[in-house]
Symmetry: D2
Subunit: 429 residues, 4 copies
């Protein structure tokens, strides 16, 4: 989560109003996303990986208070000195913190107090940014930008997490009024698009904002490869299931097979009902499974097993990034208010951005020449480079302005609560 400070993408003076406007919008958007939720909804932690909505509201505020206000204002007095312990996520350099699995035990401060804190910090940030001199602004600007990007990440997490919370309630309640697009024609059949091999540069050179883990830009050699024109669909995944996909070890990584057996997985997360009458839990409540929609909430293990069963493989992250340069960055993002992937439509390489994060076969690792950002802000990305896989492209719960071709998301191979899907790849021999 630490922005590279080497080359800042932010334009010179004059950008202050623009950034503060984006800051205000981002903060307001977070609050807006929590509006359909009751106080109780916002209190619950349904598993250690999930955080309560209230925690997200507080943690993002802590981020601005700690890294913007407290670092820029001498003798800054925090809103409540006890909140640092409660709402630090994992910044070891910022001192001890409340254990992650216990975030659901915190009834106080109340949701109302957290909103008061948000308003207090927002006002203080606006005041600071408007009153600081130009030298101070140059120092403040990257951290403010980073906080804004961080805020957007938590907007997605709020939706991911509350979906899991609501799914654990036997009543299967809806998050609230969720937009729904009318069904269209059946999605185009899957086609294969070829990309030539050669020496490519991938990664961000930080001309515009990018997290530190996206750089530095560096050369890679690729052999010719092919990518599927769209995400794999529920219909295709059902064929895998019907062919015994979850009962035949030969398709699975050894570790994945153990997970399947231990958790008795028989379908992706959020699937309900039975063969012939499959249901899907969404943020709009439970619906009949639409076979034309992309299959969602699959783990890396399932994506990989499906690819093997298909006689294909998952893309590598550099293949994905090279191909993505040929795709429009528009896509179906959180702004639609649907919070659910749509069936594919259109020609060429579709759904590269939005709809669902796409698992790649690349373990999340440092790029050659990677250096974490300095200080506490450098803790985010580097220290998770172990045991996770890269996902690319954003999802229907991601703020559209947040992703780009070089963006690297990452989750452990067994995680399924992210909005994750599958695009097939192949060698182009």
């Amino acid at each position: 989560m630490a922005a590279s400070l080497q080359k800042s993408a932010l334009s010179p003076s004059g950008d202050r109003e623009l950034l503060l406007q984006r800051f205000g919008e981002a903060r307001a958007r977070t609050t807006e996303l929590t509006a359909p939720l009751s106080t109780e909804d916002q209190t619950i932690q349904s598993m250690p990986d999930v955080s309560p909505t209230k925690w997200h509201l507080a943690h993002t505020t802590w981020f601005f208070e700690t890294f913007v206000l407290a670092s820029a204002i001498r003798d800054y007095t925090p809103f409540d000195a006890r909140f640092g312990y409660l709402f630090n996520s994992y910044y070891e350099a910022e001192g001890p913190r409340h254990p992650r699995p216990e975030r659901g035990l915190i009834s106080r401060p109340s949701l109302e107090e957290v909103h008061d804190w948000r308003a207090h910090v927002d006002e203080a940030v606006q005041h600071l940014a408007q009153s600081i001199d130009q030298r101070g602004w140059r120092k403040l600007r990257p951290t403010l930008e980073l906080g804004l990007q961080h805020e957007q990440q938590h907007q997605e997490l709020i939706l991911m997490d509350i979906k899991h919370v609501l799914s654990r309630n036997p009543l299967l309640p809806s998050y609230g009024a969720v937009a729904r697009k009318n069904a269209e024609a059946r999605p185009p059949s899957l086609r294969w698009l070829s990309f030539p091999g050669g020496l490519y540069a991938i990664g961000s050179d930080h001309d515009e904002f990018a997290f530190d883990n996206e750089g530095p830009s560096h050369r890679v050699w690729l052999e010719p490869f092919r990518l599927a024109s769209r995400l794999a669909t529920n219909r295709e995944f059902l064929a895998f299931i019907d062919d015994g996909g979850y009962r035949r070890a030969k398709f699975w990584l050894s570790e994945g097979w153990q997970v399947v057996q231990h958790h008795k997985w028989e379908a992706p997360l959020y699937w309900g009902g039975e063969a012939g009458a499959r249901m899907l839990f969404t943020l709009g409540g439970e619906r009949p499974l639409d076979p034309d929609e992309p299959v969602s909430h699959v783990s890396y293990y399932e994506a990989d097993a499906f690819a093997r069963w298909s006689g294909k493989r998952l893309p590598r992250e550099d293949e994905w990034e090279i191909a993505a340069r040929h795709a429009p960055t528009e896509g179906h993002f959180a702004s639609s208010g649907e919070f659910h992937p749509r069936p594919a439509s259109g020609d060429g390489l579709t759904q590269m951005f939005g709809d669902l994060w796409e698992w790649t076969s690349s373990a999340y690792a440092a790029y050659p020449g990677f250096r974490p950002a300095a200080g506490a802000l450098g803790e985010y990305n580097g220290k998770f480079m172990c045991g996770q896989f890269v996902l690319r492209g954003g999802a229907a719960v991601t703020p559209g302005a947040h992703v780009r071709a070089s963006y690297r998301n990452f989750y452990p191979p067994g995680a399924r609560w992210a909005f994750s899907g599958t695009r097939l790849a192949d060698d182009d021999a």
Copy 2:
């Protein structure tokens, strides 16, 4: 929780108004106890043994709806048919139910809806009881009485459970405005009271209300014994700690010693601070430990180890019951609004009722001739007769009208979140 129906303690007709008045008071008291709590407070489950306040409010309502309304009214339509699954506690005969450790995952129905449900059921019960014929009333009355006793049990559980919930918050918040009695003179020094041996009858003959596990009345042979005149104090327990009580295996049951080491216990639950500056978390927040108060929130293991260290033992439950007949049933109960035990005062056998439940060395087991009540209501007591120990006398969070000399509470030996204390006993050789 199933009342013996053999002999009802309730007087003949004419008692209808009285019982309905007690019903109304009990239901109102439950609501009153939750008034200081925020919606968030009432949502949280801090460990599998603890239930959210909202769950208690709903479960007690489910009890009246299921065992009173639905069993007396033909074709009764429940307020919400889905609530049975969510708020059945453990009555297997009433069908499948939501797993206990997941009670904290239920944000909906909302607290407000639960209160609506309560009001709806209360009104329906009142209406039913006033309109039913005398034959129906005779059948209804014991279940209504049982529901009322059950309601009182959950009043205590609400206080016990929320204390644990609040204690897990690093801010150590207070439950609300809690009454506090001014400090008195130091409690009287401990004296030993002797009781002769012989053949005694213990247990309830159900002339007045009693749970099924309190009967039948039966004969036991006791050898002469002695009881301490009051509960053990924090001062006495500190001497045990200072003498290495938690570090010397010789005082402990083998299983208790394992628990001490596994959980790294060094003091009773809710103790904070350090030697010389001990603190105690109470429903009124954290306070300096008062050495004159009875030691509270000890497990059976700790009570037993303390007794061995003292060269004494814990009382057997029949010894306790025989002695309790010599004590006034008045005591310090929940009506004081203090929700915390007081230092002992007075002469003779004190603190037998109220202040703290007293661990006995008796494993919780069926009395000779015990028969569980018929139907789902018979599930409560019999099926827990394994691995638990009996506690007697009630505590400062117990409704005073709820306990009696024959009352048998029970918890596993490692439980500490109940308001449990220790009275020493000895053979009278």
Copy 3:
């Protein structure tokens, strides 16, 4: 395991030869029981509760070296000073010890070295006992007797434990040549024998050897009761299974029902095959289940559920002890070499001693006036008085001379690897 020293049952001088002869026989019998086993068999620990055969051989030797030789001989030099750490079982007073679950990790000392140690200690004990003066002998004799009783306990444990070890091998190997009695006539049908209520004395007064937990003798009041004339059979238990015994919560203690579901129990331990072709693993290998044999290797939970299903209950330990005074102490013990219970035969109260240990409904607790023996030897019995139930009467793997009417064995309610069975009881109203 600590003998009461108050009144020793051993006769005055002149008994030295007799005791040494019994000592020699007991030690030789232990070795004899291990003769059919390979070195590998004797190395393995199949679960934390089980100890390797080699460990039993060593631990019993450590007992004599520590409590007899080292306490009687000034400056005694142990055979190997490192063995104390490895082969102390749970005597905290004797210092730190190797963790129980890791007994199967000890390949050295070798089995051969352990046998050398046994021979060395046996000779030293014989020499000491023959050369010590009469005053020393009076002090030595009770510990020697206790060691001998302890040796016998481990003879049974060796058979219990190796049965479990062998059962975990998919080849289901036999312990060795095991005697087998020819099938007899079908066992007599179950009859009910009545016993009058009244004031009884139970427990040992230590006129002959008894463990400390068997005393002191004390009075109890019993109501009239009935006992089944024999143990419950596999045929009767099959009827319970066929009636859905393992699938219906209503028969089970709450804790037992959780265990059944967690471990997916569907039959007693060591049952194999399927309905219609049931098999039973024995120390002689796997055999077709004989419906006339007593049902064995049931947990307390299963014995209790079976009793509830039968409309009866388990006996209390004092009921059992009173009844046992009317039964012959002969029975089917380890000396037959069958190591497996036989079908009942004969009239009256049969199978009270031998065949299988009988679960009682009595939690294992201290008798009134109980005082543990002094020193390390007092650690055995008192510290396990929590969470266990008493079993009575001995089994087909118990040395016949080891049990008596007052003998109290005990296991946790979920334990099944002991040779445990079920006798029904009832109130005699």
Copy 4:
């Protein structure tokens, strides 16, 4: 473990005697390595990752019986049909198998029977290979070669595993007479060797034997890099420890830091004693820690943390492989009989082969164009490509003929019982 069959490295006819001679030597070497061990030593499984020596002896035999004899001989009758279930490691295609964590529960077949089985299979393989026609030989030869390589892998595993078994015995016994080289001069100080960037081919083209995961040969782009001239030493690692290495989160991967805290790691595996008097457990028993020896038995987490503390990084596997082409493949391997790494000596790039496996920062993944071998033999490598890191170069317990520059070993990041060490790398900016 599946050899690529595309291009076999084995020369045409005439190589039969040579291969059979190598087969005989490899099989004899395995037996020779177990000679110092007692039957008990060979029975024990000290953790799920470890297999008993007897299991290794049996499993390698099962491999030849299943993949060589049973696939080449029509109606082959196995030595014992029940052994397939017991000694299959993880080949799902070969049917169900005994769970890995229960390998230590198998006392029978005895060690002697396993040796009989080995002799039987060895003879049958020799007979088959000598009598089969040339066409059959061409088919048999790659599988025989693969079995031989597999045998060599298990020779190393036998030493790794028994070291762990012996280390869990408080007596810290020695494996047996282990050779010991006299101390030499202090190792040369660490130098940095530079390698130019560019487009390289790495991986095996299978001109000689290689496992399937080593290929296909493919192009990679590398930036200029530097490698340390030797492995990191105990002296260097002690400096890390003394600087608070195990207590400061900033050096650690997030997951590694959790492991450190959970397991309370304070030093590499097999370190004993205390600061100032450090000891090291080796296959020759416990010795004072030699600061000049390479640090061994470190996890990936520790290697990575040490590298960060050093201001450096671990090498990528392709960097290592390119550099290794400049180093002699001679090294200190198992043939020395020392089974322990030596201090570095000599100039240039030393210790690349032998002494210790070297952690790389490369997650174990498929090379571009990788295809698993067909059939059951294809199960080995592909299905473990998740959650593991690549190690290179072999160790002092590896058969020298077994490794090569393209050889890819792999372990999860928390594994420490392999003979693993650390070489630092850096960018050459």
